[in-house]
Symmetry: C2
Subunit: 326 residues, 2 copies
DNA sequence: TTGTAAGCGTTATCAA
DNA sequence: TTGATAACGCTTACAA
C-alpha cells in the first residue's frame, strides 16, 4: 500500500508538503505541487481513511443504517440520500446491522440517518451529541441532537378510510405492523378514529398482528377467511401485507374488491400493478430531505424540529363502490 | 468520546491491559478483566475503528458497492450478503459511489463485492491483491485475486426464446441494456443465436438501445409503435424495460400478448403481478454465494474460478400461443 | 516555501 | 500478570 511517505520519498520532499498538497493548502510552490500530484497519479495513491480520521476527525462522510430488506422502497430512500450527499461533497456509507455503532461517533462518520427499528432509542441518545447529529426516519425523538423526519401517517390514513366509508363500506378488518413501531400505532389510531367518527364498531377479533412482510398479510387473510363473516374491507398497515392478503383472497376465489376490498400504505412498486388503494410516500424526497437536514446539522445549523412528510392517497381498483343494503 | 485511555485511568491500569482484555488475550487476571469489562459497560465504550484499523489492519469487514437504485432486486442481493456476513462474524459496509475506493484496500475492509458498472476493470485490477480479494457480480475478469460470480445469461435466454418460437412467434424486436455490460451482450447473443438456429431473420432496425430502466423500455415501445409493422414479440434485456414497454403498449390500446408478446429478464417483484414471462435469478443466493467466496478468499482459501449461477425460465401471460398463419 | 515533530486511538513487543 | 513504549498513516503547529 502506497502512502504519503512513499510519495514524499519519491518526490524528494517531506510528508507535510505532500499532505499540504493533498489538502489544497496554499503554502506550497506550484512546481512542487505539480510534481507531487503527478507522482500520486503514477503510484495511484489513495489516502488511508483510517489515518486521516484518526488525526483530523472531521470526515465528510455520513452513515445510513437500515435492516429490512423486504421493503423495496428503501432503495429509493437510499437514492435520495445518495444524491444529496454527492451534490454536497459528502460520502455515504450504509450499514445493515448492529455493527453500525462502530462507525457512529467514531471519527469515521460525522452523522447518521437511522431507519432501523432494531436500533434502540437509548443507544441513539447515547451516540448523538454536539459533534454527532442524527436523523431518524422511523420514530419521533426529543433530543437536542436528533431530528425526526417522519411520514405523516395519521391524516392520509384517516382520509383514506373516510374515503372507503364514503364509498359504502361498513365493516372492517385491520392487519397491523410491528406493534411497537410509531408508524403502525399512528396508522391504527387513524383507522380507529375514522371508524369512530362514522359510528362504525370495530371488534378486537378483527385485528391481526403482522410484521409488515407480505407473508404476514397472506396469513392474516387466510385466518380471516376461516371466520364466519368477512368484513367489507381489509385495511393493512402497509402494502406488502395488503399484497399478501390480496394473493390469499385470489387464491381462494374471492374477488377484490367485489367480495372484499383491500387497502395498503406505502405505494410500493407492486401497488400500481396490483391495483391497490394506498397512500403514496415520496421516498426519494424523504431520503433527500433527511440527508439535507443531517448535513445542515453537521455544518452547525442546528435544527431538530420534527419534520413531517406529507403523503398522497391513491384510490385504485382494490376498493370499489359498494351499494348500500337498505 | 471515551477511549481505551479513559477506561485505563478509571480502572487504575495501563492501556495495554485494557487492550488485552478487549481482545480476549489470556494474559490478564480474572479480577482485573471483570473490573475493566464492567467499566467499559458503564462508560458504554465503543472501540474506535480508525485506531484499530490503523494499527492492526485486519478488520473483519467487507464492502459491497452498487449504484443502480432502480433495480430493486439489489436489496435481495444485499440481504444474502448481509446474512452470510453476519453468520461468519464479519461486518458489512455498503457504498454507492466512487468514494468506495477509499474503503477498499485501506485497512478498513478486507475485501469487496462489486456490482457497479461504473467501477472500471483496471481500477479493480489495481485494488485487488494478495491481501485484498474481490468478487465481481457484473463481469467476468481474469485476475488471480478477483473472482466472478455471474448469472448464466446465455442458456436461459436461449431457451426462453426457443420456447417463444415454439409457441408460434416468428418476428422479434429487442430492447437492449447498456451495450458495454457483459450481461447485455450475452443476453443479446443468446437471442440472436436462438433466432438464427430457427432461420429467423433479425433486422438492426428492430434493435432498441436502452439502459435497463423502465423508462427506456417505455420509450422503445413508443418508437416501435410508430413503425409500420409490429413484431410478434418484443424481447427485453431486463424486466424493468419489459414492464415499461408493457405499460406503453397498454396505454396505446395494444393487448399483451394478443397484439404483441413481451419477455423480460430478472423476475423482479413486479414481473409476477404483470404476468411477465422472464428468467428468474436467485438473487438472495447470489449475494450469499458472493459473500461466501469472498470470505473464503480472505481466509486464504484461494479460489477465483468463475462461478455461474443458474437461472430459471418462467412463462407467464405476456407470452401466449400464436396460431401459425399457414 | 519547506521540514520537524507531536499526536489521534489502538495493538504489539518486550521488559518488569 | 501487568506496564512502558513504538508504531500504524495522517494532519498540523511551529520552526527553519
Amino acid at each position: 500500500m502506497v502512502g504519503i511517505k512513499d510519495i514524499a520519498k519519491r518526490a524528494g520532499v517531506s510528508v507535510s508538503t505532500v499532505s499540504n498538497v493533498l489538502n489544497n493548502k496554499k503554502n506550497v510552490g506550484e512546481e512542487t505541487r505539480q510534481r507531487i500530484l503527478r507522482i500520486c497519479e503514477e503510484l495511484s495513491y489513495q489516502p488511508n481513511v483510517a489515518g486521516k480520521a484518526l488525526k483530523s476527525g472531521k470526515p465528510n462522510t455520513i452513515l445510513f443504517n437500515f435492516s429490512d430488506f423486504d421493503r423495496s422502497f428503501y432503495l429509493k430512500i437510499i437514492n435520495g440520500i445518495s444524491d444529496y450527499v454527492n451534490d454536497n461533497d459528502f460520502d455515504l456509507i450504509i450499514c445493515t446491522d448492529k455493527s453500525c455503532e462502530k462507525y457512529m461517533n467514531s471519527s469515521l462518520t460525522s452523522g447518521s440517518i437511522i431507519l432501523d427499528k432494531k436500533m434502540q432509542d437509548d443507544t441513539l441518545t447515547r451516540l448523538a451529541g454536539e459533534n454527532y447529529p442524527i436523523v431518524v426516519l422511523d420514530r419521533i425523538m426529543n433530543n437536542q441532537y436528533i431530528k425526526s423526519v417522519v411520514v405523516n401517517n395519521y391524516e392520509p390514513m384517516y382520509e383514506m378510510i373516510q374515503g372507503v366509508i364514503d364509498r359504502g363500506y361498513r365493516s372492517f378488518g385491520f392487519v397491523g405492523g410491528p406493534e411497537e413501531t410509531a408508524d403502525n400505532k399512528e396508522r391504527y389510531r387513524a383507522f380507529r378514529d375514522a371508524l369512530e367518527a362514522n359510528q362504525i364498531q370495530f371488534q378486537q377479533k378483527s385485528y391481526f398482528a403482522g410484521n409488515y412482510r407480505e407473508k404476514s398479510g397472506y396469513t392474516a387473510a387466510k385466518i380471516l377467511m376461516l371466520s364466519r363473516e368477512l368484513p367489507d374491507c381489509l385495511v393493512c398497515a402497509n402494502d406488502n401485507m395488503a399484497i399478501g392478503a390480496m394473493k390469499a383472497f385470489r387464491e381462494n376465489g374471492l374477488r377484490v374488491p367485489e367480495d372484499i376490498a383491500v387497502t395498503g400504505f406505502d405505494n410500493c412498486d407492486l401497488a400500481e400493478a396490483m391495483g391497490l388503494t394506498t397512500v403514496s410516500i415520496p421516498n426519494y424526497e424523504r431520503g433527500y430531505i433527511a440527508a439535507r437536514y443531517l448535513i445542515e446539522n453537521i455544518r452547525g445549523q442546528r435544527n431538530v424540529e420534527t419534520f413531517k412528510i406529507s403523503a398522497k392517497i391513491i384510490f385504485r381498483s382494490s376498493v370499489g363502490s359498494k351499494k348500500q343494503d337498505i
